[in-house]
Amino acid sequence: MRDVAVIGVGLTKFGELWDKSFRQLTAEAGSKAILDAGIGGKEIDALYVGTMSAGRFVGQEHVGALVADTSGFAFEHIPAIRVESACASGGVAVRQGCLSIASGMNDIVVVGGIEKMNDVGGTSATGTLVTAADQEWEAFFGATFPGIYAMLATRHMYDYGTTREQLAQVAVKNHANGALNPYAQFRKEISIETVLKATTVAYPLGLLDCSPVSDGAASIVLCAAEKAKKYTDKPIKIIGSGQASDTLALHARRDICTLESTVHAAKMAYKQANKTPKDIDVAEVHDCFTIAEICAIEDLGFVKKGEGGKAIDNKITTLDGSLPVNTSGGLKAKGHPVGATGVAQIVEIVQQLKGEAEKRQVPNVRIGLAHNVGGSGASCTVHIMEAM
Protein backbone atom coordinates (compact mmCIF):
# COMPACT_ATOMS: atom_id res chain seq x y z
CA MET A 1 0.00 0.00 0.00
CA ARG A 2 1.45 3.35 -1.06
CA ASP A 3 1.40 6.57 0.92
CA VAL A 4 -0.95 9.34 -0.11
CA ALA A 5 -0.38 13.10 0.00
CA VAL A 6 -2.43 16.24 -0.49
CA ILE A 7 -0.94 18.41 -3.23
CA GLY A 8 -3.60 21.10 -3.60
CA VAL A 9 -6.65 22.53 -1.84
CA GLY A 10 -9.56 24.82 -2.69
CA LEU A 11 -12.49 26.28 -0.79
CA THR A 12 -15.48 28.53 -1.40
CA LYS A 13 -16.79 30.87 1.26
CA PHE A 14 -19.34 29.14 3.47
CA GLY A 15 -22.63 30.85 4.21
CA GLU A 16 -26.00 31.74 2.71
CA LEU A 17 -24.76 32.02 -0.85
CA TRP A 18 -27.90 33.02 -2.72
CA ASP A 19 -25.96 33.79 -5.89
CA LYS A 20 -24.21 30.46 -6.08
CA SER A 21 -25.77 27.23 -7.28
CA PHE A 22 -24.65 23.69 -6.45
CA ARG A 23 -22.82 23.55 -9.78
CA GLN A 24 -21.13 26.90 -9.34
CA LEU A 25 -19.89 25.96 -5.87
CA THR A 26 -18.55 22.68 -7.25
CA ALA A 27 -16.68 24.38 -10.06
CA GLU A 28 -15.26 27.10 -7.82
CA ALA A 29 -13.78 24.82 -5.17
CA GLY A 30 -12.63 22.25 -7.70
CA SER A 31 -10.84 24.67 -9.97
CA LYS A 32 -9.09 26.34 -7.03
CA ALA A 33 -7.78 22.98 -5.84
CA ILE A 34 -6.63 21.89 -9.28
CA LEU A 35 -4.86 25.21 -9.90
CA ASP A 36 -3.29 25.00 -6.44
CA ALA A 37 -1.98 21.54 -7.29
CA GLY A 38 -0.81 22.64 -10.73
CA ILE A 39 -2.28 19.57 -12.42
CA GLY A 40 -4.06 19.24 -15.74
CA GLY A 41 -7.37 17.54 -16.41
CA LYS A 42 -5.68 14.67 -18.22
CA GLU A 43 -3.78 13.77 -15.06
CA ILE A 44 -6.89 13.18 -12.96
CA ASP A 45 -7.70 9.51 -12.56
CA ALA A 46 -10.97 9.85 -10.69
CA LEU A 47 -13.29 12.24 -8.86
CA TYR A 48 -14.72 11.47 -5.45
CA VAL A 49 -17.70 13.55 -4.36
CA GLY A 50 -19.13 13.79 -0.88
CA THR A 51 -22.60 15.27 -0.60
CA MET A 52 -25.25 14.24 1.88
CA SER A 53 -28.46 14.94 0.09
CA ALA A 54 -28.28 16.69 -3.23
CA GLY A 55 -31.47 14.76 -3.93
CA ARG A 56 -33.51 16.48 -1.25
CA PHE A 57 -31.72 19.85 -1.25
CA VAL A 58 -31.56 20.45 -5.01
CA GLY A 59 -33.56 17.58 -6.42
CA GLN A 60 -30.50 16.11 -8.10
CA GLU A 61 -29.13 12.60 -7.93
CA HIS A 62 -26.39 11.12 -10.13
CA VAL A 63 -24.09 13.64 -8.53
CA GLY A 64 -20.82 11.96 -9.55
CA ALA A 65 -21.66 12.53 -13.18
CA LEU A 66 -22.89 16.06 -12.46
CA VAL A 67 -19.61 17.00 -10.77
CA ALA A 68 -17.50 15.52 -13.57
CA ASP A 69 -19.60 17.42 -16.08
CA THR A 70 -19.60 20.71 -14.17
CA SER A 71 -15.86 20.50 -13.67
CA GLY A 72 -15.36 20.22 -17.42
CA PHE A 73 -14.30 16.60 -17.44
CA ALA A 74 -17.22 15.10 -19.30
CA PHE A 75 -15.16 14.56 -22.43
CA GLU A 76 -12.19 13.22 -20.48
CA HIS A 77 -14.69 10.61 -19.24
CA ILE A 78 -13.16 10.58 -15.78
CA PRO A 79 -14.75 8.06 -13.40
CA ALA A 80 -16.71 9.92 -10.72
CA ILE A 81 -17.94 8.37 -7.49
CA ARG A 82 -20.50 9.97 -5.19
CA VAL A 83 -20.15 8.97 -1.57
CA GLU A 84 -22.79 9.45 1.09
CA SER A 85 -22.42 9.10 4.83
CA ALA A 86 -24.64 11.91 6.07
CA CYS A 87 -22.42 14.59 7.68
CA ALA A 88 -19.36 12.37 7.18
CA SER A 89 -19.84 12.25 3.43
CA GLY A 90 -16.80 14.49 2.92
CA GLY A 91 -14.53 12.49 5.21
CA VAL A 92 -15.59 9.20 3.66
CA ALA A 93 -15.00 10.62 0.18
CA VAL A 94 -11.48 11.61 1.26
CA ARG A 95 -10.84 8.12 2.59
CA GLN A 96 -12.15 6.49 -0.57
CA GLY A 97 -9.90 8.74 -2.63
CA CYS A 98 -6.94 7.74 -0.44
CA LEU A 99 -7.70 4.05 -0.74
CA SER A 100 -7.84 4.25 -4.51
CA ILE A 101 -4.34 5.73 -4.59
CA ALA A 102 -2.90 3.57 -1.81
CA SER A 103 -4.05 0.47 -3.66
CA GLY A 104 -2.16 1.54 -6.74
CA MET A 105 -5.32 1.89 -8.78
CA ASN A 106 -5.06 5.66 -9.19
CA ASP A 107 -2.20 8.17 -9.02
CA ILE A 108 -4.10 11.44 -8.72
CA VAL A 109 -7.70 11.98 -7.64
CA VAL A 110 -9.71 15.06 -6.81
CA VAL A 111 -11.99 14.84 -3.78
CA GLY A 112 -14.79 17.38 -3.43
CA GLY A 113 -17.43 17.98 -0.81
CA ILE A 114 -20.43 20.11 -1.65
CA GLU A 115 -23.76 21.02 -0.12
CA LYS A 116 -26.29 23.61 -1.24
CA MET A 117 -28.80 23.84 1.60
CA ASN A 118 -30.52 27.17 1.01
CA ASP A 119 -32.42 26.37 -2.16
CA VAL A 120 -35.10 24.79 0.03
CA GLY A 121 -36.97 26.38 2.94
CA GLY A 122 -35.77 26.05 6.53
CA THR A 123 -38.33 23.44 7.51
CA SER A 124 -37.38 21.25 4.54
CA ALA A 125 -33.69 21.69 5.34
CA THR A 126 -34.13 20.51 8.93
CA GLY A 127 -36.37 17.72 7.69
CA THR A 128 -33.55 16.60 5.42
CA LEU A 129 -30.86 16.90 8.09
CA VAL A 130 -32.75 14.51 10.32
CA THR A 131 -32.43 11.79 7.68
CA ALA A 132 -28.93 11.43 9.15
CA ALA A 133 -30.68 9.98 12.17
CA ASP A 134 -32.96 6.95 12.34
CA GLN A 135 -35.95 8.00 10.28
CA GLU A 136 -38.27 5.30 11.50
CA TRP A 137 -37.38 5.02 15.15
CA GLU A 138 -36.07 8.49 16.10
CA ALA A 139 -37.39 11.13 13.68
CA PHE A 140 -40.80 9.54 13.19
CA PHE A 141 -41.56 9.85 16.88
CA GLY A 142 -40.68 13.56 17.00
CA ALA A 143 -36.93 13.64 17.61
CA THR A 144 -35.05 16.37 15.72
CA PHE A 145 -31.36 16.27 14.94
CA PRO A 146 -30.52 18.93 17.58
CA GLY A 147 -32.86 17.01 19.90
CA ILE A 148 -30.77 13.87 19.56
CA TYR A 149 -27.54 15.68 20.41
CA ALA A 150 -29.38 17.50 23.19
CA MET A 151 -30.21 14.14 24.76
CA LEU A 152 -26.53 13.27 24.57
CA ALA A 153 -25.78 16.57 26.31
CA THR A 154 -28.34 15.94 29.07
CA ARG A 155 -26.78 12.58 29.84
CA HIS A 156 -23.22 13.93 29.62
CA MET A 157 -24.18 16.63 32.11
CA TYR A 158 -25.71 13.96 34.36
CA ASP A 159 -22.81 11.48 34.12
CA TYR A 160 -19.89 13.92 34.19
CA GLY A 161 -21.14 17.23 35.51
CA THR A 162 -20.56 19.03 32.22
CA THR A 163 -22.24 22.45 32.38
CA ARG A 164 -24.12 24.68 29.95
CA GLU A 165 -21.38 27.26 30.44
CA GLN A 166 -18.78 24.79 29.21
CA LEU A 167 -20.91 24.06 26.15
CA ALA A 168 -21.21 27.80 25.54
CA GLN A 169 -17.47 28.26 25.76
CA VAL A 170 -17.03 25.94 22.80
CA ALA A 171 -19.19 28.26 20.72
CA VAL A 172 -17.34 31.33 21.99
CA LYS A 173 -13.96 29.81 21.11
CA ASN A 174 -15.03 28.73 17.67
CA HIS A 175 -16.54 32.11 16.85
CA ALA A 176 -13.32 33.79 17.96
CA ASN A 177 -11.45 31.54 15.50
CA GLY A 178 -14.02 32.04 12.78
CA ALA A 179 -13.55 35.79 13.07
CA LEU A 180 -10.03 35.20 11.79
CA ASN A 181 -11.14 33.05 8.85
CA PRO A 182 -12.04 34.93 5.65
CA TYR A 183 -14.03 31.95 4.40
CA ALA A 184 -16.13 31.50 7.53
CA GLN A 185 -19.92 32.00 7.60
CA PHE A 186 -19.76 33.87 10.92
CA ARG A 187 -16.90 36.25 11.41
CA LYS A 188 -17.96 37.94 14.63
CA GLU A 189 -16.92 37.09 18.15
CA ILE A 190 -19.71 36.29 20.59
CA SER A 191 -19.88 36.25 24.38
CA ILE A 192 -20.93 33.47 26.74
CA GLU A 193 -23.97 35.51 27.78
CA THR A 194 -25.14 35.70 24.18
CA VAL A 195 -24.85 31.95 23.82
CA LEU A 196 -26.65 31.22 27.10
CA LYS A 197 -29.47 33.65 26.32
CA ALA A 198 -30.07 32.41 22.78
CA THR A 199 -33.47 30.82 21.97
CA THR A 200 -33.71 27.24 23.09
CA VAL A 201 -33.71 24.80 20.20
CA ALA A 202 -33.73 21.56 22.21
CA TYR A 203 -32.92 21.86 25.86
CA PRO A 204 -30.09 22.28 26.88
CA LEU A 205 -28.96 23.38 23.41
CA GLY A 206 -29.77 26.88 22.22
CA LEU A 207 -29.50 28.42 18.79
CA LEU A 208 -25.82 29.25 19.29
CA ASP A 209 -24.96 25.72 20.37
CA CYS A 210 -25.91 24.56 16.89
CA SER A 211 -24.00 24.77 13.63
CA PRO A 212 -25.85 26.67 10.90
CA VAL A 213 -27.46 25.71 7.62
CA SER A 214 -24.87 26.60 4.98
CA ASP A 215 -23.90 26.50 1.33
CA GLY A 216 -20.34 25.75 0.37
CA ALA A 217 -17.83 23.48 -1.26
CA ALA A 218 -14.28 22.29 -0.57
CA SER A 219 -11.87 20.33 -2.70
CA ILE A 220 -8.49 18.62 -2.33
CA VAL A 221 -6.16 16.95 -4.79
CA LEU A 222 -4.67 13.67 -3.60
CA CYS A 223 -1.57 12.18 -5.13
CA ALA A 224 0.64 9.14 -4.56
CA ALA A 225 3.21 10.42 -2.07
CA GLU A 226 6.10 9.11 -4.16
CA LYS A 227 5.02 11.42 -7.01
CA ALA A 228 3.86 14.40 -4.93
CA LYS A 229 7.06 16.46 -5.06
CA LYS A 230 6.62 16.70 -8.80
CA TYR A 231 3.68 19.02 -8.17
CA THR A 232 4.46 20.89 -4.98
CA ASP A 233 7.35 21.34 -2.60
CA LYS A 234 5.05 21.25 0.36
CA PRO A 235 2.99 18.06 0.03
CA ILE A 236 1.15 16.99 3.16
CA LYS A 237 1.11 13.26 3.74
CA ILE A 238 -1.96 11.53 5.04
CA ILE A 239 -0.19 9.25 7.49
CA GLY A 240 -3.32 7.71 9.00
CA SER A 241 -6.87 7.16 7.83
CA GLY A 242 -9.60 5.48 9.80
CA GLN A 243 -13.31 4.91 9.39
CA ALA A 244 -15.90 3.21 11.56
CA SER A 245 -19.62 2.71 11.86
CA ASP A 246 -21.98 2.27 14.82
CA THR A 247 -25.72 1.97 15.36
CA LEU A 248 -27.83 4.44 13.45
CA ALA A 249 -30.00 5.47 16.39
CA LEU A 250 -28.50 7.08 19.50
CA HIS A 251 -30.74 4.92 21.67
CA ALA A 252 -29.15 1.75 20.33
CA ARG A 253 -25.60 2.72 21.30
CA ARG A 254 -23.85 0.93 24.09
CA ASP A 255 -22.97 4.19 25.86
CA ILE A 256 -24.96 7.26 24.93
CA CYS A 257 -22.10 9.63 25.79
CA THR A 258 -19.41 7.82 23.79
CA LEU A 259 -19.21 7.89 20.03
CA GLU A 260 -17.61 4.46 19.55
CA SER A 261 -17.29 5.22 15.85
CA THR A 262 -14.92 8.07 16.75
CA VAL A 263 -12.97 5.84 19.13
CA HIS A 264 -12.51 3.14 16.49
CA ALA A 265 -11.83 5.38 13.53
CA ALA A 266 -9.25 7.22 15.62
CA LYS A 267 -7.66 3.98 16.76
CA MET A 268 -7.35 2.86 13.14
CA ALA A 269 -5.79 6.16 12.10
CA TYR A 270 -3.37 6.37 15.07
CA LYS A 271 -2.26 2.81 14.42
CA GLN A 272 -1.60 3.38 10.74
CA ALA A 273 0.19 6.64 11.52
CA ASN A 274 2.07 5.09 14.42
CA LYS A 275 1.06 8.05 16.55
CA THR A 276 -0.84 8.66 19.79
CA PRO A 277 -3.24 11.45 20.76
CA LYS A 278 -0.38 13.22 22.49
CA ASP A 279 1.37 13.64 19.12
CA ILE A 280 -1.42 15.72 17.63
CA ASP A 281 -0.61 19.45 17.44
CA VAL A 282 -3.84 20.76 15.92
CA ALA A 283 -7.25 19.23 15.21
CA GLU A 284 -10.44 19.95 13.29
CA VAL A 285 -13.25 18.06 15.03
CA HIS A 286 -16.90 17.65 14.21
CA ASP A 287 -18.70 20.29 16.31
CA CYS A 288 -22.13 20.08 14.70
CA PHE A 289 -23.28 21.02 18.21
CA THR A 290 -21.15 22.30 21.08
CA ILE A 291 -21.60 19.02 22.98
CA ALA A 292 -20.20 17.17 19.97
CA GLU A 293 -16.85 18.94 20.32
CA ILE A 294 -16.68 18.04 24.01
CA CYS A 295 -17.38 14.38 23.22
CA ALA A 296 -14.95 14.47 20.30
CA ILE A 297 -11.92 15.56 22.30
CA GLU A 298 -12.69 12.78 24.77
CA ASP A 299 -13.33 10.06 22.19
CA LEU A 300 -10.26 11.05 20.15
CA GLY A 301 -8.20 10.44 23.26
CA PHE A 302 -7.08 14.03 23.84
CA VAL A 303 -8.62 13.97 27.34
CA LYS A 304 -10.20 11.24 29.46
CA LYS A 305 -13.87 10.42 29.04
CA GLY A 306 -15.94 12.94 30.95
CA GLU A 307 -13.19 15.57 31.13
CA GLY A 308 -14.06 17.39 27.93
CA GLY A 309 -15.84 20.14 29.86
CA LYS A 310 -12.88 20.61 32.18
CA ALA A 311 -10.55 20.85 29.18
CA ILE A 312 -12.71 23.66 27.84
CA ASP A 313 -12.58 25.42 31.22
CA ASN A 314 -8.79 25.06 31.25
CA LYS A 315 -8.65 26.58 27.77
CA ILE A 316 -6.60 23.68 26.40
CA THR A 317 -8.28 23.90 23.01
CA THR A 318 -8.19 27.63 22.29
CA LEU A 319 -6.04 29.00 19.51
CA ASP A 320 -3.19 29.60 21.94
CA GLY A 321 -3.86 26.49 24.01
CA SER A 322 -1.81 23.32 24.17
CA LEU A 323 -4.04 21.60 21.60
CA PRO A 324 -5.92 24.09 19.43
CA VAL A 325 -9.18 22.59 18.20
CA ASN A 326 -11.21 23.97 15.29
CA THR A 327 -8.90 26.80 14.35
CA SER A 328 -11.07 27.29 11.26
CA GLY A 329 -14.02 28.21 13.45
CA GLY A 330 -15.35 24.66 13.31
CA LEU A 331 -18.72 23.75 11.95
CA LYS A 332 -20.18 26.24 14.38
CA ALA A 333 -18.62 29.43 13.01
CA LYS A 334 -17.11 28.34 9.73
CA GLY A 335 -20.41 26.82 8.66
CA HIS A 336 -21.58 23.30 7.92
CA PRO A 337 -22.50 22.67 4.30
CA VAL A 338 -22.86 19.03 5.19
CA GLY A 339 -20.95 17.20 2.47
CA ALA A 340 -18.29 19.88 2.24
CA THR A 341 -17.30 19.79 5.90
CA GLY A 342 -15.18 16.64 5.87
CA VAL A 343 -13.11 17.94 2.98
CA ALA A 344 -12.92 21.49 4.37
CA GLN A 345 -11.44 20.10 7.59
CA ILE A 346 -8.60 18.57 5.56
CA VAL A 347 -8.07 21.93 3.86
CA GLU A 348 -7.67 23.66 7.23
CA ILE A 349 -5.19 21.09 8.56
CA VAL A 350 -3.19 21.22 5.33
CA GLN A 351 -3.03 25.02 5.56
CA GLN A 352 -1.94 24.80 9.20
CA LEU A 353 0.79 22.28 8.39
CA LYS A 354 2.00 24.37 5.43
CA GLY A 355 2.11 27.53 7.54
CA GLU A 356 -0.58 29.13 5.37
CA ALA A 357 -3.28 29.61 8.01
CA GLU A 358 -2.62 33.34 8.29
CA LYS A 359 -4.18 34.87 11.40
CA ARG A 360 -5.23 31.41 12.61
CA GLN A 361 -1.75 29.92 12.33
CA VAL A 362 -0.68 27.75 15.24
CA PRO A 363 3.09 27.83 15.69
CA ASN A 364 5.24 24.71 15.38
CA VAL A 365 2.57 22.37 14.11
CA ARG A 366 3.83 19.15 12.59
CA ILE A 367 0.91 16.72 12.94
CA GLY A 368 -2.76 17.52 12.45
CA LEU A 369 -5.99 15.52 12.75
CA ALA A 370 -9.36 15.87 11.03
CA HIS A 371 -12.45 14.22 12.55
CA ASN A 372 -15.75 13.98 10.66
CA VAL A 373 -18.91 12.36 12.04
CA GLY A 374 -22.12 11.22 10.36
CA GLY A 375 -25.45 11.62 12.16
CA SER A 376 -25.22 11.22 15.92
CA GLY A 377 -22.15 9.02 15.52
CA ALA A 378 -23.29 6.26 13.20
CA SER A 379 -20.26 6.84 11.01
CA CYS A 380 -16.93 8.56 11.48
CA THR A 381 -13.67 9.20 9.70
CA VAL A 382 -10.39 10.33 11.19
CA HIS A 383 -7.43 11.48 9.11
CA ILE A 384 -3.99 12.30 10.46
CA MET A 385 -1.61 14.41 8.41
CA GLU A 386 2.04 15.39 8.56
CA ALA A 387 4.20 17.61 6.39
CA MET A 388 6.52 15.50 4.21
Binding site: E138, A143, T200
Partner: protein
Protein backbone atom coordinates in the same frame (compact mmCIF):
# COMPACT_ATOMS: atom_id res chain seq x y z
CA UNK B 1 -43.20 15.04 6.77
CA UNK B 2 -40.72 13.28 4.56
CA UNK B 3 -41.11 15.01 1.23
CA UNK B 4 -40.47 18.66 0.73
CA UNK B 5 -42.34 19.01 -2.50
CA UNK B 6 -45.97 18.56 -1.54
CA UNK B 7 -48.62 21.07 -0.47
CA UNK B 8 -50.46 20.86 2.81
CA UNK B 9 -53.72 19.49 1.43
CA UNK B 10 -52.29 16.56 -0.45
CA UNK B 11 -51.17 13.24 1.02
CA UNK B 12 -47.51 13.97 1.47
CA UNK B 13 -46.46 10.41 0.93
CA UNK B 14 -48.57 10.06 -2.19
CA UNK B 15 -50.60 7.26 -0.59
CA UNK B 16 -47.45 5.32 0.35
CA UNK B 17 -48.81 3.67 3.50
CA UNK B 18 -47.13 0.26 3.40
CA UNK B 19 -44.09 1.16 5.46
CA UNK B 20 -46.24 2.54 8.27
CA UNK B 21 -48.65 -0.38 8.15
CA UNK B 22 -45.82 -2.91 8.39
CA UNK B 23 -44.74 -1.45 11.68
CA UNK B 24 -48.14 -1.46 13.40
CA UNK B 25 -47.20 -4.47 15.57
CA UNK B 26 -44.18 -2.50 16.78
CA UNK B 27 -45.87 0.86 17.27
CA UNK B 28 -49.06 -0.52 18.84
CA UNK B 29 -47.82 -3.53 20.75
CA UNK B 30 -44.02 -3.40 21.16
CA UNK B 31 -43.52 -6.61 19.22
CA UNK B 32 -39.77 -7.18 19.10
CA UNK B 33 -37.73 -10.35 18.87
CA UNK B 34 -35.24 -12.37 20.81
CA UNK B 35 -32.00 -13.97 19.60
CA UNK B 36 -32.31 -17.75 19.59
CA UNK B 37 -28.63 -17.99 20.43
CA UNK B 38 -27.96 -15.47 23.21
CA UNK B 39 -31.55 -14.63 24.27
CA UNK B 40 -31.00 -10.86 24.00
CA UNK B 41 -34.20 -8.98 23.24
CA UNK B 42 -34.37 -6.45 20.39
CA UNK B 43 -36.80 -3.71 19.52
CA UNK B 44 -37.58 -3.13 16.75
CA UNK B 45 -37.16 -6.75 15.66
CA UNK B 46 -34.01 -7.58 13.70
CA UNK B 47 -33.22 -10.08 11.01
CA UNK B 48 -30.18 -11.19 12.99
CA UNK B 49 -28.47 -10.51 16.30
CA UNK B 50 -25.51 -8.09 16.07
CA UNK B 51 -23.65 -10.15 18.66
CA UNK B 52 -24.29 -13.65 17.32
CA UNK B 53 -24.73 -12.74 13.67
CA UNK B 54 -24.81 -15.88 11.55
CA UNK B 55 -25.53 -18.10 14.54
CA UNK B 56 -28.76 -16.21 14.98
CA UNK B 57 -30.01 -16.24 11.41
CA UNK B 58 -33.34 -18.01 11.15
CA UNK B 59 -33.42 -18.27 14.93
CA UNK B 60 -34.92 -14.92 15.88
CA UNK B 61 -38.15 -15.43 17.85
CA UNK B 62 -40.96 -12.89 18.08
CA UNK B 63 -41.58 -11.52 21.56
CA UNK B 64 -43.81 -8.83 23.06
CA UNK B 65 -42.20 -6.22 25.29
CA UNK B 66 -44.00 -4.79 28.30
CA UNK B 67 -43.72 -1.13 27.35
CA UNK B 68 -42.45 -0.27 30.83
CA UNK B 69 -39.07 1.29 31.49
CA UNK B 70 -37.18 4.29 32.76
CA UNK B 71 -35.82 7.54 31.35
CA UNK B 72 -32.14 7.37 30.38
CA UNK B 73 -31.91 10.89 28.98
CA UNK B 74 -34.24 13.52 27.56
CA UNK B 75 -34.53 16.91 25.91
CA UNK B 76 -37.30 19.46 25.45
CA UNK B 77 -37.82 20.20 21.79
CA UNK B 78 -38.56 23.88 21.14
CA UNK B 79 -37.96 23.91 17.40
CA UNK B 80 -39.94 21.05 16.03
CA UNK B 81 -40.43 19.33 12.71
CA UNK B 82 -43.47 20.29 10.63
CA UNK B 83 -45.76 17.55 11.90
CA UNK B 84 -45.05 18.34 15.54
CA UNK B 85 -45.22 22.11 15.55
CA UNK B 86 -48.47 22.28 17.48
CA UNK B 87 -46.98 20.31 20.33
CA UNK B 88 -43.90 22.40 21.08
CA UNK B 89 -42.36 22.52 23.54
CA UNK B 90 -42.45 18.75 24.01
CA UNK B 91 -40.13 16.27 25.70
CA UNK B 92 -38.31 13.55 23.76
CA UNK B 93 -36.54 10.89 25.77
CA UNK B 94 -34.49 7.77 25.38
CA UNK B 95 -36.19 5.14 27.47
CA UNK B 96 -34.64 1.88 28.59
CA UNK B 97 -37.37 -0.73 28.47
CA UNK B 98 -37.35 -3.31 31.23
CA UNK B 99 -36.90 -6.02 28.59
CA UNK B 100 -33.56 -4.50 27.58
CA UNK B 101 -33.79 -2.39 24.40
CA UNK B 102 -33.94 1.39 24.38
CA UNK B 103 -36.36 3.52 22.38
CA UNK B 104 -36.75 7.20 21.50
CA UNK B 105 -40.22 8.60 22.21
CA UNK B 106 -42.20 11.55 23.55
CA UNK B 107 -43.13 11.84 27.19
CA UNK B 108 -46.66 13.17 27.73
CA UNK B 109 -48.91 14.19 30.64
CA UNK B 110 -45.89 15.25 32.68
CA UNK B 111 -44.90 18.82 33.59
CA UNK B 112 -41.64 19.59 31.80
CA UNK B 113 -39.73 20.39 34.98
CA UNK B 114 -40.66 17.06 36.56
CA UNK B 115 -38.94 14.90 33.98
CA UNK B 116 -35.86 13.28 35.45
CA UNK B 117 -33.27 10.74 34.41
CA UNK B 118 -34.29 7.53 36.15
CA UNK B 119 -38.03 8.37 36.13
CA UNK B 120 -40.12 5.21 35.75
CA UNK B 121 -42.45 5.30 32.78
CA UNK B 122 -44.97 3.15 30.96
CA UNK B 123 -46.27 3.35 27.42
CA UNK B 124 -49.53 4.93 26.31
CA UNK B 125 -51.33 4.87 22.97
CA UNK B 126 -51.39 8.18 21.11
CA UNK B 127 -51.46 9.76 17.67
CA UNK B 128 -47.87 10.11 16.50
CA UNK B 129 -48.29 11.74 13.11
CA UNK B 130 -50.65 12.08 10.24
CA UNK B 131 -50.02 12.28 6.53
CA UNK B 132 -51.57 15.72 6.17
CA UNK B 133 -55.26 16.55 6.74
CA UNK B 134 -56.44 14.00 4.19
CA UNK B 135 -53.93 11.23 4.75
CA UNK B 136 -53.63 8.26 7.05
CA UNK B 137 -53.19 8.69 10.81
CA UNK B 138 -50.26 6.90 12.42
CA UNK B 139 -50.77 5.78 16.01
CA UNK B 140 -48.06 4.52 18.31
CA UNK B 141 -46.32 4.73 21.64
CA UNK B 142 -45.56 7.65 23.88
CA UNK B 143 -44.72 7.40 27.57
CA UNK B 144 -46.32 8.58 30.79
CA UNK B 145 -45.11 8.46 34.36
CA UNK B 146 -45.61 4.94 35.68
CA UNK B 147 -48.96 4.56 37.40
CA UNK B 148 -48.69 3.37 40.96
Amino acid sequence: MYGSYHGGDVNMTDGGVARFWREIPQRYNFIGNRCGSCERVFFPPRESCPYCRRKSMGKMKETKLSGKGEVVTYTIIHVGPENFEEQIPYPIAIIKLEDGPQVTAQIVDCPLDEIKIGMKVESTFRRIQEDGYTGAIYYGYKFIKKRE
